[in-house]
């Protein structure tokens, strides 16, 4: 099986039913995507596949067509860099465990919506759970990133 991750093509010989998350973490040593629930309810494992946010615990590595970008990779999305800069500016993280999933999801939102409203943000981001409760800062950071992207 071939898998393109962060610009590198990997040749892998894993089971057909191994989720992408565990290939990334345990076979490729990429720890940015996190394990939180394993059943599509927390979003900690989100990565981009061709710029679309997907839950890597739910996608089998064997089924991935396209290039995977994790938080470790810069990727093709300019939105990702704007998001990270805004996350730093607002100091969003507490424990930080959910934040790579949050940023991956936020970048996808901004790629599709240039001026997201609170309702847009709530709708796009509700799948990504934060047990520390950083949501007020997430809202603010998404808006800052949107502003900066427009100015760019």
């Amino acid at each position: 099986m071939k898998l393109s991750v962060n610009g590198t093509i990997h040749e892998l010989a894993v089971e057909d039913d191994m989720p992408l998350l565990w290939v990334l973490r345990d076979e490729l040593g990429l720890d940015g995507p996190k394990y939180g629930c394993g059943v599509a309810v927390c979003g900690a494992c989100a990565v981009h596949v061709d710029g679309v946010a997907v839950l890597s615990c739910q996608v089998l590595a064997a089924d991935v067509e396209g290039s995977v970008t994790t938080i470790e990779g810069l990727g093709d999305l300019a939105e990702m860099q704007a998001v990270q800069a805004a996350w730093l500016e607002h100091q969003v993280a507490q424990c930080g465990y959910c934040q790579s999933g949050q940023m991956i999801q936020a970048a996808e939102l901004l790629a599709n919506t240039t001026s997201p409203t609170d309702a847009d943000i709530d709708e796009a981001m509700s799948g990504i759970l934060c047990r520390c409760g950083t949501y007020p800062r997430i809202r603010a950071a998404v808006k800052t990133a949107a502003q900066n992207l427009k100015g760019a």
Binding site: W22, D31, L88, Q91, A93, C95, G96, S126, I138
Partner: protein, 744 residues
């Protein structure tokens, strides 16, 4: 591993002795005169330095003895040291330090004495001093109880000042100048001619001289860091996905483990059949452990798959199998009248007719931090290494020594960044079970990761609690309040069942934040009842205050409503503590309390003094056609000193969200002896779409400093309950509210 972890503990405790060409600074707090005979019982060696600053040729490391679970503890502690040391946060590294008695937690004493935190009298403080010494002797190194800031506020600044003055003395010896001619700035001693000698270059010299312990702390007006917005030291790593947590541990030759423990917590394994795992790819070994069975594999997912393929017959739970029976035990406990403690009994409660009655309930709730429990352990015949995110390193060290038979000094616990805890990592079963697995593979590092379902099933939850209240009103005012609460004992569960220690007195967490509220209700009684053991329980963010804040304030709001008074005005009238009153006034002012509200809008207020921090909240909701929507929350908290306003706001907002989320959505219930919930779909916190706007104000109206990790939690549920009552005419009597109301 950080440098602090690799340096022999022994060399730490001898203080300023040279360490690898460097120097570790501490300070002699023990030598300060405390008027207490217990001081004399300290052995000579107990006056050990508490080392917080380590400087060598490689750089400056600040040792932060309280672990970071996401609350920014590393940054706050580092800032306190750096303030006096004259370094910037980007010039230093932070290391949580090895388990050591030197890092005992002073502030825990504050909640272990029979004086309310508002009592700063000589008697109360002397008592705190005594308990403090006991903590000192026991060497309680624990992160919790919102103690990080109160504990370190002075200690860590003194440590910074001692290090600075010693470095100046070293520079004086080296240059022949007087220390009064020297200044310090951004990690260097500055000579009168402007020449800078970096601290690192002075480390070897400083190690030779006696630390300068006679230091004066700078007044707050001179502070550069404390009180100003900071860039948290972990923020860049957490924003680029490069922060490593316990679950990310990776070592040469490491294997991956998964486990299943009896979901009837504490029950036995009758038998298991692991034949299905034979031939599964990557599976190396099946190992029975206490209360369950584990699998070793070459990848986490393969270990998860294999452990699920084992067929296990589980024994019965050592507690009632059904949830109804748990509630019945609490009701019976209250009926029995067998009280644990009556810490408040003002006026003449027995002779007052009290006709207003209430019964409220709080469910079991899980901690469920986003990073599931995990640990990595390597056992050899002479040494054990443990890598984990944990709030109790010294207890874990002792527990692992007991299991492995390796002497305690040869058990090395390395504390890693935690993906949340909320009290979850005050328990170390994951480490103990991992140690058992690792003993079967000597020399091999074993990383055990709990599946989310296992993490939920095995949680030591917040206890259930049942409250019955009576009260009366007269002439528009609340005149009596009698609260009785029953719950299983957290301390019994933690110290008794798991550490084998008896509980000498009542469990103060049962009546926590009920008895010490700053209200002068004329007839006012609080009684706690300790139920027989039920499901295993532990500390959950804000501990007893999380359910008791709901009970006390929901009932007080009910009484105030009966009196026909305004809930802010009546509280202000009853309040006896000035900082508490100012906290409530602040939140009323922030929210424009008393102004007109929009259509279908309602508001509720609540206050709770917990962990020494008065916190008041007002919430505004809309009661719409589809259900209740949380719009806005205003919060004020009195902490004496806000160390970092950015992190402060983030933590307070997080605390409110935690309090609201669980009040609305979350419960653990038992059936057939097992928790009925196992993952976030049936144990929901708050998601972003339900999150209100949250306005925060930190107050600094008094001298002593208190923490803010937990105090924002207790007022959230009762403030919301009051708003719901105002909107619907029905007062919520049990959490989670979603069982009885619809939320959007």
């Amino acid at each position: 591993m950080g440098r602090a972890g690799t340096i022999a503990r022994r060399s730490f405790l001898v203080g300023s002795t040279a360490i690898l060409g460097g120097v570790a600074f501490g300070f002699y707090k023990y030598n300060q005169p405390l008027e207490n005979p217990l001081l004399d019982t300290l052995a000579e060696g107990e006056a050990a330095l508490t080392p917080y600053v380590l400087i060598d040729a490689e750089g400056i490391t600040l040792i932060t003895p309280r672990a970071d679970m996401g609350q920014g503890a590393y940054s706050v502690q580092a800032a306190l040291i750096a303030e006096e040391l004259d370094v910037d946060l980007n010039q230093i590294k932070v290391d949580p330090g090895p388990p050591s008695k030197a890092y005992y937690n002073t502030a825990l004493a504050n909640d272990a004495v029979p004086f309310p935190s508002t009592n700063q009298s000589a008697a109360a403080n002397t008592m705190r001093g005594t308990v403090d010494l006991v903590m000192k002797l026991m060497g309680v190194q624990l992160t919790g109880g919102s103690t990080t800031v109160p504990d370190g506020y002075e200690k860590l600044r003194v440590a910074g000042a001692v290090a600075r003055e010693t470095l100046k003395a070293a520079a004086a010896e080296q240059t022949g100048l007087a220390t009064t001619q020297l200044k310090t700035e951004r990690g260097a001693v500055v000579l009168p001619n402007g020449k800078r000698i970096p601290y690192q270059a002075l480390a070897a010299k400083a190690a030779e001289i006696k630390p300068v312990t006679d230091v004066v702390l700078r007044p707050s007006t001179q502070w550069r860091l404390v009180g100003k917005p900071m860039q948290r030291v972990d923020m860049a790593a957490k924003t680029t996905g490069t922060q490593s947590y316990g679950i990310d541990m990776r070592m040469e030759g490491m294997v991956h483990a998964a486990i299943r423990l009896n979901p009837r917590k504490g029950g036995e394994v009758i038998s298991f059949d692991a034949s299905e795992t034979e031939g599964m790819r990557g599976v190396q070994k099946v190992i029975p452990v206490t209360g369950g069975v584990g699998v070793i594999a070459d990848n986490t997912w393969r270990a998860f798959q294999a452990v699920d393929a084992i067929d296990v017959e589980w024994g019965d739970a050592p507690y009632p199998a059904e949830q109804d029976q748990h509630w019945q035990v609490l009701a019976d406990t209250l009926d029995s009248g067998d009280q644990d403690a009556r810490p408040r009994d003002d006026g003449d409660v027995d002779s007052i007719p009290m006709t207003i009655k209430a019964e409220y309930r709080a469910p079991y709730v899980a901690h469920a931090p986003l990073e599931p429990l995990n640990a990595t352990v390597r056992v050899t015949s002479t040494r054990v290494d443990v890598w984990t995110g944990n709030q109790i390193p010294r207890m874990t060290q002792a527990n692992v020594a007991k299991i492995t038979g390796v002497p305690v000094d040869n058990v090395h616990v390395h504390i890693l960044m935690m993906g949340g805890s909320f009290g979850h990592r005050l328990e170390d079963d994951v480490v103990k079970r991992c140690a058992e697995l690792a003993m079967a593979l000597p020399g091999t590092p074993v990383k055990l990761t709990f599946k989310r379902e296992e993490d939920t099933a095995q949680d030591f939850t917040r206890p259930i609690a049942l409250m019955r209240g009576r009260g009366s009103v007269e002439a528009g005012h609340v005149t009596s309040m009698d609260i009785r609460v029953a719950s299983p004992s957290i301390l019994d569960s933690q110290m008794g069942e798991r550490q084998g220690m008896g509980l000498p007195g009542p469990d103060a967490t049962i009546t926590q934040a009920l008895w010490d509220q700053p209200y002068a209700i004329p007839h006012y009684r609080v009684t706690g009842y300790r139920s027989p053991k039920l499901g295993p329980v532990s500390s959950w963010r804000s501990v007893g205050a999380s359910q008791n804040g709901f009970f006390h304030e929901n009932f007080l709001n009910a009484l105030i409503h009966e009196a026909g008074a305004d809930p802010v005005e009546e509280r202000l009238r009853l309040m006896t503590d000035e900082p508490s009153r100012k906290t409530l006034e602040a939140v009323a002012e922030m929210s424009g309390w008393g102004g007109a509200l929009g259509a279908n809008k309602a508001r509720g207020v609540a206050f709770c003094l917990s962990f020494g921090t008065p916190c008041a909240q007002i919430i505004e909701i809309t009661n719409g056609e589809d259900g209740i929507k949380l719009d806005k929350v205003w919060v004020a908290a009195e902490v004496g000193r806000v160390i970092d306003p950015v992190n402060f706001e983030n933590l307070v907002q997080g605390g409110v969200i935690w309090g609201l989320g669980h009040a609305i959505n979350s419960q653990i219930t038992y059936s057939d002896g097992m928790a009925e919930q196992d993952n976030y779909y049936d144990f929901e916190g708050l998601r972003i779409y339900q999150t209100p706007e949250i306005m925060v104000r930190g107050l600094e109206n008094r001298d002593h400093v208190t923490g803010v990790g937990e105090p924002p939690v207790p007022p959230a549920a009762p403030a919301l309950a009051e708003a719901i009552f105002q909107a619907t005419g029905t007062r919520p009597t049990e959490m989670p509210f979603a069982n009885s109301f619809t939320f959007v």
